[in-house]
Each structure stands twice: as C-alpha cells, then as structure tokens.
C-alpha cells in the first residue's frame, strides 16, 4: 500500500502543482518540494523499518490488486533491496531536481513541476512494478512528461533533442511490449494461466528459438535506455538540451531504468540467453567505456561532455551485469547509485554555471575558481568522484566491477581499466577549462546561494558516505544479488 501511496503522492502532487500555479507560482514549487520530500521520507522510513525481510525474502513489501482481470493484469507492486535502493535514489534526486529548478524555471512553472513529478512517478513505478503490463505502463508514463521537460524548457535545439529522445525510447518500448506479449501467450498456452505477473512468468518454459527473439526485444529496449554504444545516439542531445532538472533526472534516473530492467528481467527470465548475450555485451560495454571517454575528451560543450561520461560509466554497468559474479553485481548497483549522484551533481553545477554565464561553451569559461571558490571546490570533488578517486563512491563501484570481471575476461577488463585513465584525462580537462586557467569573465559572479549550498552538500555527503561506508547498501542488496547470481 505504501508503494502505491508514494506513486499516488507524486501523481496528485503534480496535478496540484499545475492547478496551484493558476493562483500563485510560488505555491507550485512548495507543493512539488513537499511531495518529493514526503516520498523521500516514506522510502527512508521503509529502509529503517524493513531491516528484516521476513518470510518471503528477499521481498519486503508486496501489494497486489486486480486491474484488468480478464487479461490477467494486476496492479502488483513489490519491494526488495534493489528496488528500495533505487527508490531512495529516485526520491533523493527528485527532491534535488525540484530544488535546482527553484529559480531556473521562470515560465509555466505549474506545468513544469507537473511534468517533473509525473516523470518521477513513472520512474518510481518502473522500479516497483511486478506485473509486466504495469511495468510497461510506467515505462511509457515517464516518457511523455520527460518529452515536455526537454521540448518546452530546454535549450536552443530542444525540439530536435526531445523528438530524438522520445522516438528512440519509444521504439525500444514497443519492441519490449511485443516481447512481453509473446511471453504472456507462450506462458498462457503452456500452463493455461494467462497472466502478466512477474513471479508466474519467471518460470516460463521457452524453446530456444522463441526465447531468442523475446530476449532481443527486451534487450534492445533496455540497451537504448542504458545506453549501450551503438544505440546511445539520443543521449548527448537529450542531456545537453534538457533543463538542469531534466538532465539530472535523465542521467541520474532514466538511464538506471535500463540497467534495472536488465537485472530484474533479462537475467532471471532468460538465464541461458543471458550467457549468450554476455559474449556481445561485455565487448560492447568495454567499447562504451573507451568510446564514451574519447568522445567526452573531445567535447567543447560542458553538458555534452558530462553526457558522454555517462556513456562511459554505463559501459561499466553493462560489464558488471554480464560478468554474472556477485562482486561485480554489487559493484554494478553501487555504480548505479554513485553515478546517479556524481553525474547528477555535475549536471546541477553545469546548470548553475549556465545560469551565471549563459553559456555551456568550455572555450568561454576558465578561471572561475577566483570568483566562485565554493562551487569550484564542489566541482572538483565531483570530478574526482567521477574519475574514480578512492574514498568516493564511484571508486568502490568501479573497483568491485573490475574485480568481479577480471576472472571472466582478463583482457577486456584490462581494456576497461584503461578507460579509467581516459576518464582522468577528460575530467582533468573539464576542471582545467572551467575553474582553472586565466579568468575569463571580468565581472564578479555570485557564489553559491544557500539553496545551492543545501543541494550540493546533500550530494557531497552522500557520495562521500557511499565511498567510506558502502556496506549498508551491499547488505541491503545482497539477497537479491545472491539470487540472481545463483541462476
């Protein structure tokens, strides 16, 4: 029930924001903040309360209500460690997304916060839906408001970026829908029980020729979201054109739905095919790491640069998932979290710089440390996190992934580690071009406001905490990971 409540709060909060904006623009901000913070508190409450999974481990909460019974569709939400971690991330970044649009969005505020909260609701739904129809439903629900976020409040090329984002993800989504339907009918014809329920479909007997096609549909959908290298084309455009909150949600959360999908659906549903995919996925992951890093190095646009670092980091996620090792899988989940935080923070700061300088062009920036010392410090911290400096969360994640992958494929792991050197290159260049070097702008800029302090310190504390004490997260997801790897 609490899961449905969380999603409901976001949906209703979104509508209220829209309505409230008719009377007062400020009210909609506060409603949005309230909705996001309430959900954050609720999910944190879940975490504190549910130390012990109880009888049906690894699932903490299970909520089911019939929805379209004639098709075997139910409103089935469930929470395990993995979902909980991702929900926490969703609401944490969601709160920050509201905060960082506090002043940035000046027009149509009500509709903006409506779109923001509905995107969050879709993402949260994806992480807890345990009915494949419902999963697809939420998968689509997050697209339309995200499209509006990019298309209405984005930068100069926003239309193009928004179309590209929508059509890429939608194409993947529909292929996934076909796969879901095929699975549904095969399961129904085999057992006589037509249902979209995750747990029933888990044990579907598939003959290899059919499962090959079905898994392809799922994999393409998730690979587009993640993104895996040949399908990453939409990402730089969408990330760089979106408003700050949009980039934050895209990098921090939307990409994670792809990773989540692979972990939640492809591995347990198709164990045999996953092994076959791994032959492709691991090289593709390594390609992504290296290619993303090289492209990031050559960008002149700050947000585009950060966007390509996402491509590179998501390569590690793919690598970790398809090594089928417990350590690597733990690393993958850490990577999902820490990448969300560190890259999210970089996008937030890119947004802050944009607000002050009205540009994203690295060529025009430089020497900002003298005028913006606090932001410079924070930027340095998150750049270091992004390149994998020990003590910060990303180091743990990447280290675990590489550790887990090494026995599976030493050569590719070595190549992937090479990506870390490249990441140092592009990260240092990024800091060099923005905050160091000769000062570019003569007039004084305002350093962090208290709201920005709050945002950045929340992010900094969490990335350091994850770097120093990753154990709670590892404990939380261990049962899930064990179960996955044992297949």
């Amino acid at each position: 029930m609490i899961l449905a409540l969380m999603i409901g709060i976001l949906l209703i909060g979104g509508v209220l924001c829209w309505l409230a904006a008719q009377w007062s623009a400020a009210a909609s901000k506060w409603i949005a903040l309230l909705a996001a913070v309430t959900d954050l508190a609720l999910s944190a409450g879940c975490w504190l309360r549910l130390r012990d999974p109880g009888p049906n481990a690894p699932w903490f909460i299970d909520f089911r209500k019939a929805w379209i019974p004639s098709f075997g569709i139910s409103f089935h939400l469930a929470l395990d460690g993995l979902s909980l971690v991702l929900l926490l991330l969703t609401f944490f970044l969601g709160t920050l997304a509201v905060l960082c649009s506090w002043r940035e969005i000046k027009q149509r505020r009500g509709f903006f916060f409506f779109c923001l909260l509905w995107t969050l609701a879709g993402i949260a739904g994806v992480f807890v839906a345990m009915d494949l129809f419902l999963f697809y439903f939420f998968w689509e629900v997050m697209l339309v408001p995200m499209y509006f976020l990019i298309a209405l409040w984005g930068d100069t090329r926003r239309r193009y970026a928004a179309y590209k984002f929508f059509i890429f993800t939608q194409a993947g989504g529909l292929l996934m829908l076909l796969s879901i339907l095929a699975l549904y009918f095969i399961h129904g014809q085999g057992t006589g029980n037509y249902t979209f329920d995750y747990f029933s479909l888990l044990n579907t007997a598939l003959d290899p020729s059919a499962s090959k096609w079905i898994v392809a549909g799922f994999f393409i959908a998730f690979a587009i979201k993640l993104p895996v290298v040949p399908l990453h084309n939409w990402l730089p455009d969408a990330h760089s054109e979106a408003p700050t909150a949009g980039s934050l949600l895209l990098a921090g959360l939307l990409l994670k739905t792809g990773a989540y999908g692979i972990i939640r659906f492809i591995l347990p549903f198709f164990p045999a095919d996953s092994a076959a995919i791994a032959n492709w996925a691991i090289p593709l992951g390594v390609t992504g790491i290296v290619y993303g890093a090289l492209l990031a190095y050559s960008q002149t646009d700050l947000k585009r640069l950060i966007a390509y670092t996402s491509v590179s980091h998501m390569g590690f996620v793919l690598l970790g998932i398809f090594s089928f090792r417990e350590i690597a899988m733990q690393g993958t989940i850490m990577q999902i979290l820490t990448h969300g935080i560190s890259t999210g923070a970089l996008f937030v700061m890119a947004g802050m710089l944009k607000e002050r300088l009205h540009t994203r062009d690295l060529g025009i920036m430089g020497g900002l440390w003298t005028t913006l010392p606090s932001m410079g410090g924070a930027f340095m911290l998150f750049t270091m996190a992004s390149l994998g400096l020990p003590m910060l969360g990303n180091f743990i994640a990447e280290f675990l992934i590489l550790l887990g992958t090494f026995p599976v494929s030493p050569i590719l792991t070595v190549l992937a580690s090479g990506g870390l050197i490249l990441s140092a290159l592009y990260s240092l260049r990024m800091v060099q071009k923005t905050f160091l070097g000769p000062p570019s702008t003569p007039h004084a800029l305002k350093d962090l406001s208290s709201r920005e302090w709050l945002t950045l310190s929340a992010l900094s504390i969490s990335i350091i905490a994850l770097g120093l004490f990753p154990q709670p997260v590892i404990d939380l997801v261990r049962p899930v990971v064990r179960l996955l790897v044992s297949n």
Partner: protein, 480 residues
C-alpha cells in the same frame, strides 16, 4: 413480422422516424435551435430503445437483418458519435452562410444507413444501408456549396463512391451467380474463380469506404474540404458502419478459410499502416493529418480484424471506441476554433494554443496522445488489445509493421503537440475568444465544452480502468 421482431427493430425505426420528424419540423417551425434540441432528444431515445431491446435479443428478421449483441454495440457506438457530432454541427452551421436545417435530415438518414449496415446479413440490406449512408454523404460533404473546397470534395466523393458502389454490386452479383444465395450465412466457402473475383470486387468497395491503401486517394481531400462535423462523421460513423458489416461478413463466411482473400486483407492492413503513417508525416493541415492518421488506424484495426475471433472482435470494438472518442475530441476543438471566415486547420493556427486556451489545448493533446497510444489514455489499452490479439494468432508480420509504423506515428502527433505548446505568435489569430460566443446561444458552447471534458475524462477512464468496458463488451458479444 412478429411483435418481437418489430420490437427489436425499434431503434432503427426511431432513427428512420427522426429524419421524418426533422422534415416536418422544417415545414412548421424553421428554428435551428428547436431542430437541434429535438434531434438530440431523438438520439437519446434511440439509445434508450437500444437498452430496452437488449432483453429480447438476439432476434433474426429473415432474410435481411439480424439484431444481436454485436449489432447493438456498433449501433450504440454510432449513435453516441452522432449525438456528439450533432452538437458540433449546431455551433458550426449556426455561423456559416448555408441554411443548416436540411443538414439534419441528411445527417440522420446517413446515420440510419450506417446502423442498418450493422444489422444486415444479406446483400440487399448491405447495399441499401451503404447507399443510404453514401448518398446522404455526397450532399453532406458538399453542404457549404459556395466554397470551392467543399464542392471539389463532394465531387470527388461522389465519383469515387459511385464507382465503388458499382464494384460492390458487381461483386455481389458474381457471388450470387456462383452460390445462388445472397444470405451471408448461406455462402459456403469455395475456391471457385467466380467467388474469388466477386470477393475481390467487394474488397475494392469496402477498401474505398474504409479508406484503406490503395483506395485512400479521396480521404485527405474530402476530410479537408468537408465541413468539420461532416469530416468527423466520415471518420467515425461511416467507417464504423462499414467495418461492422465487414466484420459480420467475414465471420459468416469464415474468412480465414479463404487464404486468397485473407492475404489480400493482410496486404491492405500493412499498406495502410505504412502509407498512412508516412503520408501523415508531411502534412501541414490538421484535417489532412487526421485523415492519414485514420487511414493508419484502420490499418491497425485490420490486424485485430484478421484474427476473426472472440478476442479480435472485442479488441476491434474497444479500438473503435477509443479511436472515436479521441477523434471526436480533436474535431470538437477544431470546430470551436474555426470562425466563419476560416477553418482552424493549418498547423500555424494552433501555435501556442496551450498558453492562451489551456483547456482546448489539453483536450487536443490528450486526444492526440490517445491516438498515439500513450498510457493513461484510451488509446493505450486499445492498441494493447489489438497487439495482443495479433500476437495470439501469430500474425507476426502485421504486428511488427504495426509496432514500427506507430513509432513513425509518434513523430507527427508529437509535432502537433509541440506546436500546441510552442511560443504563441504575437499577432492575434483564431485563438482569441471571438465575440461570436456572445452572439450564439451560450448554452451550446457550454454544452460543447462539457462534451469535450467528458470525452477527455472518458479517455482517461478507458485508459486507466479498461476492465469494466471490456467485460461489458464481452457480455454483449455473447448475445448472438
């Protein structure tokens, strides 16, 4: 004819009477408002009659008609559409130059034609229904006879529809020659050359009426030229009627046992999906865009039609319902934004609508999202049911084409939505509240606004809780 049969025909008799009532009203009291109100009440009576006759069904009225659950569903859908179209017509024609009263006679006559199609099980009633529908439509399309577009559209529709009627008749004649019967149920499948030719000719005629590719060439021009309420009539009522008879015919003769004809429909479906969506991409005129999009939608619909079974029929009806709701909402917005001088049909007329008239734009957006099949709107479960029925029957090729072409579809729906949400132009366009609203009956405007809101709410309701509707549809389909 027994009393039961007579009772069962009540809704259709009432519809026939509706035209007569309007004729008499015109003779005695020429008031648009009165005709409108009476028409509205008559349509409500038809719906009440439909509910009433439900208990006596199924009833066969040999040899022409058969009134069963399927017919009732289609008739209800048609009358529902006509109710709303009638409302649009008032506002639309009240401010046009043409005397609007006779319009309602034609409207109700063609509605009668469409509903007769839903109950016919015989070539004669099929043909009579179709002609009632088309002949009234010739006049309706060209109703604004001083406007060039309207006359062009009327001529085009007349010539092509007459031609397709000829095809239909010839096809029927060939089948009759081969089988010696005109009763759908008595036609036994066979592979004889006469039968194949006859069926082929009938496919041409039906393809024309449903605007399936390659018989779609009239669609865009007629949609654009016809008065907007008539356009919505063609897009919904006329197509629903023809689809109903096609469905019944296909079920009676067990279409899936005629691989030749079946393959033809597969090809038509695929061609319609591809061509409809691709051509819609380049349109700058909303009405033309909706024309091509409805071509594509009937391509999708054929996928569920091809499964010829319980699930497929159910999916088709749900799809038609969702499609009609979305399309009527979209056309309602066009009617409201049009002025006496100019139809609101260019994309440019809609620029920035959201920031000036948010309600209109929200209704339009949701209609387009529903047509695109986005969750929370009726279009999503509709598309889902169609896909599900296709996958169940292993119609892989049409299903995959459906998926790929609907991705193309997203692009043009999003393009329109993007325009709705774009920055508004400086110069005041059609979107300003016109003084006309004060001149006309404010009650009717309120009614249209309310209708649009109800349509949108219906779309959400079907999108979020489709179960009740699908169960209702299944219950009706069991009456046979």
């Amino acid at each position: 004819m027994t009393t039961t049969q007579f009772d069962a025909l009540l809704p259709y008799t009432l519809l026939a009477a509706a035209s007569l009532v309007v004729i008499l009203l015109i003779a005695f009291r020429r008031s648009h408002t009165v005709i409108q109100v009476v028409g509205f009440i008559l349509m409500c009576m038809v719906i009440a009659a439909l509910l009433k006759v439900r208990s006596v069904l199924p009833v066969a009225v040999p040899p022409l008609f058969r009134i069963d659950g399927l017919a009732l569903l289609f008739t209800a859908l048609i009358v529902f559409c006509v109710l709303i179209i009638g409302l649009f017509s008032f506002v639309y024609f009240e401010e046009r130059e043409e005397n609007p009263k006779e319009y309602y006679i034609l409207l109700f006559l063609s509605t009668l034609g469409a509903t007769i199609l839903t109950i016919s099980v015989h070539f004669i009633s099929f043909f009579i229904g179709l002609e009632l529908l088309s002949v009234s439509l010739y006049a309706l399309v060209a109703y604004l006879r001083t406007r060039n577009n309207a006359v062009e559209a009327g001529m085009k529709y007349l010539v092509l529809a007459a031609l397709s009627s000829a095809f239909l008749l010839f096809g029927m004649a060939l089948i009759y020659m081969d089988k010696g019967t005109m009763d759908f149920t008595a036609i036994v499948p066979s592979g004889s050359i006469l039968f194949i030719m006859g069926a082929g000719m009938m496919v041409v005629a039906i393809g024309f009426k449903l605007a399936l590719v390659p018989f779609h060439l009239w669609a865009a021009d007629v949609y654009q030229g016809a008065p907007t309420p008539v356009t919505s009539f063609i897009a919904t009522v006329s197509k629903i009627g023809v689809f109903a008879v096609l469905l019944r015919f296909a079920q009676s003769i067990h279409l899936q046992q005629h691989p030749e004809v079946y393959t033809v429909f597969v090809v038509l479906a695929i061609a319609s999906m591809i061509a409809g969506n691709l051509l819609a991409l380049v349109q700058q005129n909303i009405k033309r865009l909706l024309a091509y999009s409805s071509i594509a939608h009937f391509g999708y619909l054929l996928v569920s039609f091809l499964t010829i079974g319980e699930a497929g029929t159910q999916a088709s009806i749900f799809y038609l319902l969702a499609y009609s709701i979305a399309l009527l909402a979209a056309f309602g917005v066009i009617v409201l934004l049009s002025t006496r001088q100019k139809e609101a049909e260019d994309l440019a007329d809609f620029r920035g609508l959201f920031w000036k008239r948010p309600l209109m734009a929200a209704v339009f957006t949701i209609a387009l999202l529903s047509l695109a099949g986005i969750p929370l709107t009726a279009g999503f479960p509709a598309k889902f049911f169609v896909l599900a029925s296709g996958v169940r029957q292993h119609l892989w090729l049409p299903v995959v084409v459906l998926v790929l072409t609907s991705i193309v579809g997203f692009y043009y729906y999003l393009r329109v939505i993007g325009v709705l949400f774009a920055e508004a132009p400086e110069t005041p366009g059609l979107q300003q509240r016109e003084p006309k609203e004060r001149l006309l009956q404010p009650y009717f405007y309120a009614a249209i606004y309310a209708t649009l809101v109800v349509l949108t709410a219906l779309s959400f309701w079907l999108g979020i809780l489709p179960a009740t509707t699908t169960d209702g549809i299944r219950e009706f389909l069991l009456i046979r």
